[in-house]
């Protein structure tokens, strides 16, 4: 361990790039490497696919219906004649984007609440805690369903906004508990006694220490946002004119595609969704290790 740390500092001293350091770290953290690698592969699939396949074919009537995978349509086509390869190429990054945007919004809002609540305490904190406790007892999909039917007909960006409406609850709880323990440290007292204001302490002393933890939270929140998005889409509340992964599942369920025997229609989106969840799960395990040094021994 000591030798490794030493070699790391010497490479840094010789002025090798941050990229090399990053790759070196990934070698020591296999879950993070596999997770991020999987996400990169999924994105590459989409980027390269856009160059090879006409993405217009992701809309209905661009191919004959119900074709099994063949040389012309490697992933087959669905009931209304979408080329499923084009659907996956467009849908994979779209689903990831919806989840990531909801995750970023959720974690940003959660951080503001968690830092102000936990640092200042008092009535605001009590209210935040109560709202989070109540909110986490109610399944968020129900709240999301009520919002989505009120706003009939959404596009993917609006979808992110809807999902973000409940995505902040869990990160608020976890970040808040971290801030509570961190603010008792001696260096925070020193900062306070040296005349720093509350928000200065939050921004300059507390936040930098919690950034790895917040990023780890972002991964988890993105994963649950994607789960919620696909769930809502499968229930028929998604963007009907956009070929996301969840909408594909919805069309399969609506037209009884499984019992119709069109295995290619549902198998590819299921495999891609499962890969996304496994990738995010591994990334989150790896991030935990990065954010919480006490775990480092065990991995």
């Amino acid at each position: 361990m000591a030798v490794r740390a030493e070699s790391e500092t010497t490479t840094r001293r010789t002025g090798s790039s941050a990229l090399q350091n990053g790759l070196g770290y990934l070698r020591r953290n296999p879950p993070l490497a596999f997770g991020l690698g999987l996400i990169v592969i999924l994105l590459l699939f989409s980027v390269v696919g856009r160059l090879v396949v006409n993405v217009e074919d992701a809309s209905p009537l661009s191919a004959p219906p119900f074709k099994a995978p063949s040389a012309e349509y490697p992933f087959g086509t669905d009931k209304v004649g979408r080329d499923l390869l084009a659907v996956m190429i467009v849908g994979t990054p779209l689903t990831l984007r919806v989840g990531l945007l909801a995750g970023v919004l959720g974690v940003a809002f959660a951080s503001v609440l968690a830092f102000t609540g936990a640092y200042y305490g008092g009535a605001i904190d009590a209210v935040i805690r109560l709202v989070v406790d109540v909110g986490l007892t109610i399944p968020s999909i129900l709240i999301l369903i009520l919002i989505a039917i009120a706003l009939r007909g959404v596009n993917p960006t609006e979808m992110s906004l809807i999902v973000a409406a409940t995505a902040w609850l869990w990160p608020t709880r976890t970040i808040r508990s971290q801030v509570l323990s961190l603010k008792e440290r001696a260096y925070v007292d020193v900062a306070r006694m040296s005349g720093m204001r509350g928000y200065e302490i939050i921004v300059r002393e507390l936040m930098p220490n919690l950034i790895p933890f917040i990023v780890a939270n972002l991964v988890n929140t993105t994963a649950s946002a994607i789960l919620a998005t696909i769930g809502m889409e499968a229930l028929g509340l998604g963007p009907t004119s956009h070929p996301t992964l969840g909408m594909t599942i919805y069309w399969v369920i609506l037209h009884a595609g499984v019992l119709g025997g069109y295995w290619w229609w549902w198998l590819t989106p299921v495999v891609i969704i499962v890969l996304i969840f496994i990738a995010l799960y591994l990334t989150s395990v790896g991030m935990d290790e990065l954010a919480n040094p006490r775990l480092r021994r065990s991995v």
Binding site: D133, L146, I149, L235, I253, I273, V274
Partner: protein
């Protein structure tokens, strides 16, 4: 700091102190329960009005105007609805009327199948959902917890421990996607189990053995999807707890004293590691319900999820709102029951004030 052990001991030996603590705890939990139910009703009232209009009224008027085949009963319903809520009244008054109705479980009529009330629809479908969820959640809790404990146990047989990675990966798959896969393998390819509905078409639900057997056959695949993908969730959590417990000093001591392996596992390890699992059971209820909704849709299982799916397709607001309220009420009740049993199971909570 000094007063804490003192209060501990008084709490432990003074039955009056314990009684006072119990009353306080009970009141707090009941207040939380009421708060959740009130939030559910409030959210149900305000969220559909986000767009600025009353969506239920809009929907009904549209149906009347289009003169569609939904039955002329709709006209009576619009009148009834207007009379009850009256858009001329201020919003807070409408809200109070709504809260009053909710507290009496008066959920109104379904728009799509008019003369039926939401209550009737809910009563039929809730029974299916709750039977499915009770059985699967209990089984997955028991087997998942046991499995997690065994996997963490260093003396467990290797073949059992090698099952860990696949089962834990399954936890990353949403219930209903696993459902699609099972549906294809066992209902389409192998044709071992029926793939749609909760009983055969044309049969009428009753309590005969023959019907229950038929319903059970239809429930196997939905149950299996929930069971398989939630096993890993309990196993992962339990493994973590068991590893922590195994590192405790009393385990080393018990082992040194020569206590048999089986007793060490059940009485020293499992018993201590299982308590946080019961707390998570309360927290996981929401997750279980949301996952199960879509499993039902995948299999056309006649529970609350399929009804919700149909209601969303038909923009049947009263039914959607009724389902939201019913699910939250069920979860709040389960949470309350678990909260109240936990101090009986775990003396550490009783002493923590």
């Amino acid at each position: 700091m000094v007063s804490i052990p003192a209060s501990h001991s008084s709490m432990h030996f003074n039955p009056r102190g314990l009684q006072m603590w119990a009353t306080g705890y009970l009141l707090k939990r009941i207040a939380f329960f009421l708060l959740i139910v009130w939030t559910a009703a409030t959210v149900n009232f305000f969220l559909p009005r986000l767009s600025g209009q009353d969506p239920i009224r809009e929907r009904m008027i549209k149906l009347v105007q289009s003169g569609s085949a939904w039955g002329k009963g709709i006209e009576d319903m619009v009148e009834l609805y207007n009379e009850k809520f009256g858009l001329d009244k201020p919003l807070w008054q409408q809200y109070l009327t709504y809260l009053g109705d909710m507290s009496r479980f008066d959920l109104g009529h379904s728009i799509a199948s008019y003369p039926r009330t939401v209550n009737q629809i809910l009563r039929d479908s809730m029974l299916w959902t709750i039977s499915l969820l009770t059985v699967t959640t209990l089984l997955s809790f028991i087997f998942g917890t046991l499995f997690g404990a065994i996997v963490a146990w260093t003396r467990a047989p290797l073949w059992l421990r090698s099952l860990a990675p696949p089962i834990m990966t399954m936890a990353a798959i949403p219930y209903y996607l696993l459902g699609l896969i099972l549906l294809f393998i066992f209902a389409f390819e192998l044709r071992w189990f029926p793939g749609h509905g909760g009983y055969r078409i044309g049969h009428i639900p009753n309590l005969s053995w023959k019907f229950l057997l038929e319903a059970g056959e239809h429930a196997i695949l939905p149950a299996l999807s929930i069971l398989l993908s939630s096993l890993g969730f309990w196993a992962i959590a339990m493994r973590g707890m068991m590893v922590t417990v195994e590192g405790e000093d009393y385990m080393t001591l018990a082992e040194a004293k020569g206590i048999k392996s089986g007793r060490l596992f059940y009485d020293y390890g499992l018993r201590n590691a299982i308590l946080p699992q019961i707390t998570s059971l309360a927290l996981a209820m929401g997750y279980v319900f949301s996952g199960a909704l879509l499993v039902e849709v995948v299999f056309g299982f006649p529970g609350i999820g399929t009804v919700l799916f149909q209601a969303i397709k038909g923009v049947d607001y009263p039914v959607i709102q009724g389902i939201v309220l019913a699910i939250i009420l069920t979860i709040a009740t389960t949470t309350l029951i678990l909260d109240l049993t936990l101090p009986i199971l775990d003396p550490r909570i009783r002493r923590r004030t």
